[in-house]
């Protein structure tokens, strides 16, 4: 039975591949694309990419709808069931699970069986896989890490730390100089999730972190307590800016720009606004989050944005061709370069833009992240758990003494959510 399934899947893949190449010139009908890339730069990138696809397929009527990124997160439920487009953007890993389980995303394992994708996109395959099948393709991802003010580090005679002790020693010197070590804005909670991701992955390793976020490990375990104890060391030092619970991540940027805080644990998207605010590449630099428990393999957060075919799509053939187009090496190089998304391409054959943060990030993710690649706190954990937990993390950052209460609450939520 199993082998029969396998052979038929393989046969289907070959068929699909041959169909794909045969029909590349002859795609007809309508192709409806829904995008959540509503910010100006990504929007322009996407529109340019789609117009190239249109040029290749002149007989195809492409209709693109761009929806506000935040609004998209709630609207997707409606349009996937009622009025499905042929292609829609979304996020990888657990964030796509509700739609996969509700049968609203098309199984695209056939695409992943094609050599062009299987060989070149292997690094993100895990993030796209649920129940052994793939449900979409990635189009971009970006690294997380510590962005810091190099000029402040130089002034205080500090160098990039690699261990937890060095990190704390650096921080103490920064505090002694009357500055804060890290800026952060936790009003919308998720930024605290980034800190927890790194502290927990470095303290207990990638596998434990995933067990915790998928409900297999307890929030009241000794491992988690150790992570919070490490975090508390920083909080008690006064490492984070005051009143961070009132700021969004953007509102926390000025502290770093003005030099009141030396570093920011963030995704690579923080680089653009920091540069816009006047920081030059000489002032701004990046280092990988330090080792905490010696010997634990480093793992990184690298959130991946994706394209999917809704199960109710009308023109799945054209949609598949579009996905092939999006992940092809040239398109990946182009849409992820510095003028466009300014992120990392998912295709191993693509080249990374000559931007120092992208180069460093690509280097880090491809060779210095042996533990694994996580998506992000609120993408790896189910949405409901993420919300309760991130609220707890914020509370911990403001009132570290409430830890026992917070952990007990999270464990109760865990029992309810992962049934």
């Amino acid at each position: 039975m199993r082998s029969m399934l396998k052979t038929s899947a393989a046969a289907f893949a070959i068929l699909a591949a041959s169909m794909g190449s045969a029909s590349a010139e002859g795609l007809t009908g309508e192709l409806k694309i829904f995008l959540d890339t509503s910010n100006p730069a990504p929007r322009a990138t996407m529109e340019q990419m789609i117009s190239q696809f249109q040029e290749k397929n002149p007989d195809l009527e492409i209709e693109t709808t761009v929806i506000d990124r935040e609004a998209y997160k709630t609207q997707i439920r409606n349009f996937l069931t009622a009025n499905a487009p042929d292609v829609a953007t979304w996020y990888a890993a657990n964030r796509m699970r509700p739609y996969v389980e509700a049968g609203l995303f098309e199984d695209v394992s056939d695409l992943w069986a094609e050599p062009a994708i299987a060989e070149n996109l292997a690094s993100t395959k895990g993030a796209m896989t649920i129940d052994g099948k793939q449900w979409g393709v990635p189009y971009t991802y970006y690294q997380w890490g510590v962005y810091y003010r190099k000029d402040i580090f130089d002034e205080l005679g500090l160098s990039e730390p690699t261990t937890w002790e060095e990190e704390k020693a650096n921080c103490q010197k920064i505090i002694d100089a009357g500055k804060k070590c890290y800026t952060i804005g936790t009003k919308f909670l998720w930024t605290a999730g980034g800190w927890f991701d790194y502290l927990n992955m470095r303290t207990n390793g990638f596998d434990f972190h995933m067990d915790l976020l998928t409900g297999k490990a307890s929030w009241q375990s000794d491992e988690v307590r150790k992570t919070f104890a490490n975090w508390r060391e920083l909080i008690d030092m006064g490492a984070f800016i005051d009143n961070h619970q009132t700021y969004s991540w953007q509102e926390a940027l000025p502290f770093m720009v003005q030099g009141d805080a030396a570093a920011y644990l963030m995704g690579n998207f923080a680089v653009a606004p920091l540069r816009d605010a006047g920081l030059t590449d000489d002032q701004l630099d990046f280092y990988q989050f330090v080792e905490i428990t010696p010997g634990i393999e480093k793992a990184e957060d690298a959130p991946t944005d994706t394209f999917h075919i809704p199960a109710n799509a009308q023109n799945k053939e054209a949609a598949r061709e579009f996905l092939r187009f999006v992940v092809s090496p040239d398109v990946q190089t182009q849409i992820n370069n510095g003028q466009n998304l300014g992120q990392l391409p998912v295709n191993a054959q693509s080249s990374v833009d000559d931007d120092k943060f992208l180069v460093e990030g690509f280097e880090m993710l491809s060779s210095n992240s042996p533990g694994g690649v996580a998506q992000f706190f609120d993408r790896d954990a189910p949405a409901e758990m993420a919300k309760v937990a991130m609220e707890g993390l914020q509370e911990f950052m403001v009132k570290p003494d409430n830890l026992d209460n917070i952990l007990a609450r999270l464990d109760r939520a865990r029992e309810r959510i992962y049934k």
Partner: protein
């Protein structure tokens, strides 16, 4: 002759005979239909939905009163409920504040219309703008509040980041437009105050607070009634200010029931439709109690007349 008219009646259609009774119902029909579909029907739908567990996508699962049991154990629910009560009481301050501003503005000076419209201004602008303005006002690093506090030697406070102050801080922002609303209600009410009664009160030696309390305020009863109703409903449906100013934070300390319902049912991390519906039912029952009380007292008053 009489016979002829009877015959006429028989001939005239059913419509002609009942026109007088039917016309009002016909005019009411569109309104009633919409009310039925958009208000009454969803109420029962929410009741029904609160008995299910449903993520908005898959199959709804009947769970009986489980959602309410869950609510009973939910700390966040009690925080929201407590905040709703604080909102109810503190928001009522808009009524006396509105009354005093109305009394103050109820005079004939050149340019009084301009002053009146300036006082009414906060009610005209969007709640979102009000929220943003107050967020900047409270900002712990560059907000003017802390500058003012510092100038009299007080330590800075982070109003929106402190779980004990945040609700009060948001209510103060909400009072700004709500006071303006109550002021307008009282200004129109003051136009209807009988000058003869004031005159008579004066002859009897009433002035100042006594004049206000025994002569003016009783005559403003209708305005007070409306001000109460709109303020209480306003307090219970407070949502936009919370969403703009704190997004429910810090760590959920400024949530009220309506915001919590939105969060669990409709926000990015939500989609527990049944649980949201259960919160909606609780909120509905609270509102129902107030509105029933007001309708009852209004009915009593009508009868007394």
């Amino acid at each position: 002759m009489a016979q002829a008219s009877v015959a006429q009646d028989h001939q005239s259609s059913w419509w002609h005979r009942n026109q007088q009774q039917l016309t009002p119902w016909l005019f009411l029909a569109p309104g009633m239909l919409f009310f039925l579909f958009y208000v009454i029907f969803p109420i029962f739908q929410s009741f029904n939905l609160s008995l299910y567990e449903w993520d908005g996508l898959g199959q709804a699962e009947y769970v009986g009163l489980y959602n309410y049991e869950e609510l009973y154990w939910d700390e966040a629910f009690y925080t929201s409920l407590k905040n709703n009560v604080i909102w109810l009481f503190l928001y009522l301050l808009a009524i006396p504040a509105g009354l005093f501003i109305a009394l103050f503005l109820n005079q004939t000076v050149t340019g009084i219309r301009l002053y009146k419209s300036l006082f009414f201004f906060p009610f005209v602008i969007s709640q979102v703008v009000v929220g943003l303005v107050f967020t900047w006002f409270y900002d712990p690093t560059f907000g003017i509040l802390n500058v003012l506090l510092g100038s009299v030697g007080l330590p800075p406070v982070n109003v929106l980041g402190d779980e004990n102050w945040v609700t009060v801080g948001i209510i103060v922002a909400g009072l700004w437009p709500q006071t303006a609303y109550c002021m307008i209600l009282y200004l129109t009410g003051l136009n209807a105050v009988d000058p003869e009664q004031i005159e008579a009160g004066r002859l009897d030696g009433a002035k100042g607070w006594k004049m206000l309390w025994y002569i003016i305020v009783p005559q403003l009863r209708p305005a007070t009634f409306i001000a109460f109703v709109v303020t209480i409903i306003g307090a219970l449906r407070s949502f936009d200010l919370i969403s703009v100013m704190t997004n429910g934070g810090p760590f959920g300390a400024s949530r009220v029931l309506s915001f919590y319902m939105f969060e669990v049912a409709l926000s990015e991390y939500g989609f527990r439709m049944g649980y949201g519906a259960a919160i909606a039912v609780v909120l509905f029952l609270i509102m129902l109690a107030f509105i029933a009380y007001f309708l009852w007292s209004m009915y009593k008053e009508e009868k007394a007349r």
